[in-house]
Structures are given as structure tokens and as C-alpha cells.
Amino acid sequence: MTMAPNQRSADDPGLGDAVLLQRISAGDRDAFGELYDRFSRPLYATALHILRDAAEAEDVIHDAFVAVWEKAAAFDAQRGSAFAWIVALVRNRAIDRVRSRSTHDRLLAASAPADLGYGADGTSGDVVTEVAAREDARAVRTAFASLPADQQEALRLVFFGGLTQEEIARSLNEPLGTVKARIRRAMHKLRDLLTSRP
């Protein structure tokens, strides 16, 4: 496992995650349990949001964590955070399942913001009740909500819908170039907002 040269301070949770993965790669089951406790909620919520099926979401989380156990040594902190690595494991599995259901067209049709659990203003209908749940989640939601509505929509279609660039352009009825530029602006703004949080 490679540690990022620009790894943040010792109390940085990102650093702790990487250390956990290092311990997991050495067969430390306690570290594995701790990693599960840290990440399982947002990961399960993501899988459920993509799949809309609790049993399938559970299977995806199971398979992804088993993959974490088996491949922890392959984690490369140079390429991103531990959380990002595991989110990718979950998201890819969930999207693969959605595609294999042959219901991708239905997903496209159901990609309207309201159907993805968000109100027309682009914010989650449950935001208010979730504020106290987790500080991290609140910061992310706040940052996300500060993006323009069209940028939020594009990111949701990518992240939860698993759509390609072309599918997003078709779904939004926008030129491909516009969609790409929108995603770039959204991603850079989101990164700036999240890295500047205290």
C-alpha cells in the first residue's frame, strides 16, 4: 500500500482510513470491523439509492466489503482516499446490477430529480431531519446544495444514475459539450467547498 505524500495531519480521518486498510491487508479483523462501522451507513444508503432494493443493496455491500478484505493491499492512497476507493467498489457493483436488470431505459426515464428523492429546488427533502445525523454528511449536503440546480442534477445522474456522458446529454436534452463543462464546473466547485471546510 502506498501512502500519499501530501497526506493530511494525524487527526485526519482520511489518514486513519488508510491506516485501517493497511491493518486489514495484514489480516486485522478488528480494523475491518472498524472500517465497516465508519463507512457502512453512507455506502448502504448509496447502494440503496442506486438499486431501490434493500436485499440487493445488502448483497452489494457484502460483496464490496469482502472485496475490501481481499484487496486492501492493492489500495493506493496516491490515487484517492480510502473512502473514495470503497465508494467506487460499491457504486460499480450497484450500477452493474442495475444495468444487468435490463431496466436501464426505465432508469433513464426515472432520472428526474424528484424521482431520485430530491425536491425541485435540488435539495433533499430529508435534509432538515438529517442535519443532526452526521457532521460530515451535513457539510457535504450543504456544499452540494450550494451548487446551481443544473450542476446538482448532472452529478446526481452520474453518481446515482450511473449514466454515461451521452446518456446524461440525452436525458437533459443538452449538447454533450455543455454537459461536460457543467460536470467540470460542478466537480471543481464541490472539491473547493469540501477541501475548504474546517
Binding site: 457484502h62 452520474v158 460536470i183
Partner: protein, 281 residues
């Protein structure tokens, strides 16, 4: 400094939206550009945070145990490369040793050959079973899809039939009456009243009725045990009028319809007709 094009590609790459040649080209650029690598790592981290925007959901309590059990099972599986061999046969020196060695080799060859043939047969049998299972699975899937298709068609047919039946029932309950003229100066005036007793509403159409004078209005009547007004109406210069109507008072069993000529007194309806000019059979 990372140009705008690479910033865009980095964003798309972080979201796993690049594919094919575009992805390969970007990865080559990524391999030689450390700044770009850092940007991608940051964007990946930001993208992963989107997981926190999903509606919160608690994983099932049993999931943790299930995962830990799977991991424990993998950990406790016997290692494949740890075969221990212990020599139990005492060494014998002398002329017999080569023969013993050759015999052992021959026996070993026969034994491994037999194992190979047996294993091969088992593998073939297993492959056949898997092929059969695959066929059975495909057949079951096909059957399910067929049943679903038939089910959806039956449901659609039923919905169509129900809609047709509902419409037929509605039509059967409608009361349709033709009204003929009682006016000597316009004997060809003809009107049709369609009455829906379930909704207490109807549509009235009249042709070739003389346009009302400025100080007059026509009024439609529903005849129950007594006449009940359905409101006044005006006729166009070509003698045509079409109105949707509701009775101004409750009616039980409408048997006839009538049109009267009333004085234009500004009232929307009257309690009894003045001069009946059209009447249904």
C-alpha cells in the same frame, strides 16, 4: 498549471465517465503529470462524498455479522500450498534400490493416470450437468418472461374490456330524448337532450330554432313530477345552440324535456314555463 481541457477530463475521469481511447490517452497523460494526478485524487475524493447526499438508510443489523462471517470463512480456509510430506520408508542401499525406485515410479504413474482419468470423467460429467443446469435456467427465465408478457397483455386486455364495459354501462344509463317544435313558424326545429342521471347533468343541442327576440330568452326544462328549470339560453342567428345543463332543483326521474319562451327579465331561471315551444316525446 492544468489547462481547462485536462481539468474537464480529470472531472470526467474521477466520475468514471471516460471510456475507450479517451480514457487511455488521459491515463497516459496522468502517468507523466503529477499535478494532474493530485487533481484527480482530489476530485475522486469529492465525488465519493456524494455518497453522503443519498437519503440516509441504516444497513440491516445482521449485515455486519454476515460480512465478518464471510471474511472469517475466507481466512480459515485451508492453505493450498501447505502440503506436508513425511518420509516413512527407510532407505535401502544396494542393488535392489533402483528396482524399488522403478516399481514405485511405475505404481505412481498408474495411480496418477487412474486419478487423471477419473478426474477427467468427473469434470466432463460436471460440465454436462452445468450445461443442463444452464439450459434449465434459460428455459425457466424464458418461461417467466413469457408468463410476464402474457400477464401484461391479459392485464391490458382486461383494462380495455373494463373501459369498454364502463362506457357501455354509462351509455346504457344515459337518457336521450328528441324534442320537436311546437312553433308553427318553425316546424323543422329539432333538439336533442342527453341526460346522465348518475351525474345529474346533460347536454342539450338545438337546430333551426328561431333566434330569440331581444326581449325574450329560451329556457330548458326537465319534466319530473313537475317542470324543473335547467336554465335560460340564447340561440345564435343560424338557429343553433348547444349547452351543458344541470337542473336548478333536485330531480328524481326525468321523463321529458321541454323548451319554453320566456320574457327577458334578467332572472337565470323560472319556476314554471310560460310558453312551451319544444317538447320531447
Amino acid at each position: 498549471m492544468i489547462d481547462e481541457r485536462n481539468q474537464e477530463l480529470a472531472s470526467l475521469y474521477a466520475l468514471e465517465l471516460l471510456a475507450g481511447d479517451e480514457r487511455s490517452r488521459f491515463e497516459r497523460e496522468l502517468a507523466r503529470n503529477a499535478d494532474l494526478g493530485r487533481l484527480v485524487a482530489e476530485l475522486r475524493a469529492a465525488a465519493a462524498e456524494l455518497a453522503h447526499t443519498a437519503s440516509p438508510a441504516e444497513p440491516p443489523a445482521a449485515l455486519r455479522g454476515r460480512i465478518l462471517a464471510s471474511v472469517a470463512q475466507k481466512t480459515s480456509a485451508p492453505a493450498t500450498g501447505s502440503l506436508a510430506v513425511t518420509a516413512t520408508t527407510p532407505r535401502r542401499a544396494g542393488a535392489l534400490f533402483p528396482w524399488v525406485l522403478a516399481a514405485g515410479f511405475a505404481l505412481g504413474t498408474v495411480w496418477f493416470g487412474a486419478r487423471y482419468v477419473g478426474t477427467r470423467a468427473q469434470a466432463d460429467q460436471l460440465a454436462q450437468q452445468m450445461a443442463l443446469a444452464d439450459v434449465a435456467l434459460k428455459s425457466a427465465r424464458l418461461q417467466i418472461e413469457t408468463e410476464q408478457l402474457i400477464g401484461s397483455r391479459v392485464a391490458a386486455d382486461f383494462a380495455n374490456f373494463k373501459a369498454t364495459a364502463d362506457r357501455a354501462r354509462d351509455l346504457a344509463e344515459l337518457k336521450i330524448s328528441a324534442l320537436t317544435s311546437m312553433l308553427k313558424n318553425s316546424p323543422h326545429a329539432l333538439a336533442v337532450a342527453v341526460w346522465d342521471p348518475r351525474r345529474d347533468e346533460g347536454v342539450f343541442t338545438v337546430e333551426k330554432l328561431p333566434p330569440n327576440a331581444a326581449d325574450q330568452r329560451y329556457e330548458l326544462w326537465l319534466i319530473d313530477s313537475k317542470p324543473v328549470s335547467a336554465g335560460i339560453f340564447a340561440v345564435a342567428p343560424d338557429g343553433h345552440a348547444k349547452i351543458s345543463f344541470r337542473p336548478t332543483a333536485q330531480v328524481k326521474d326525468v321523463t321529458k324535456f321541454a323548451v319554453s319562451r320566456e320574457k327577458n327579465d334578467g332572472l337565470p331561471s323560472h319556476t314554471a314555463p310560460s310558453e312551451v315551444v319544444m317538447l320531447s316525446e
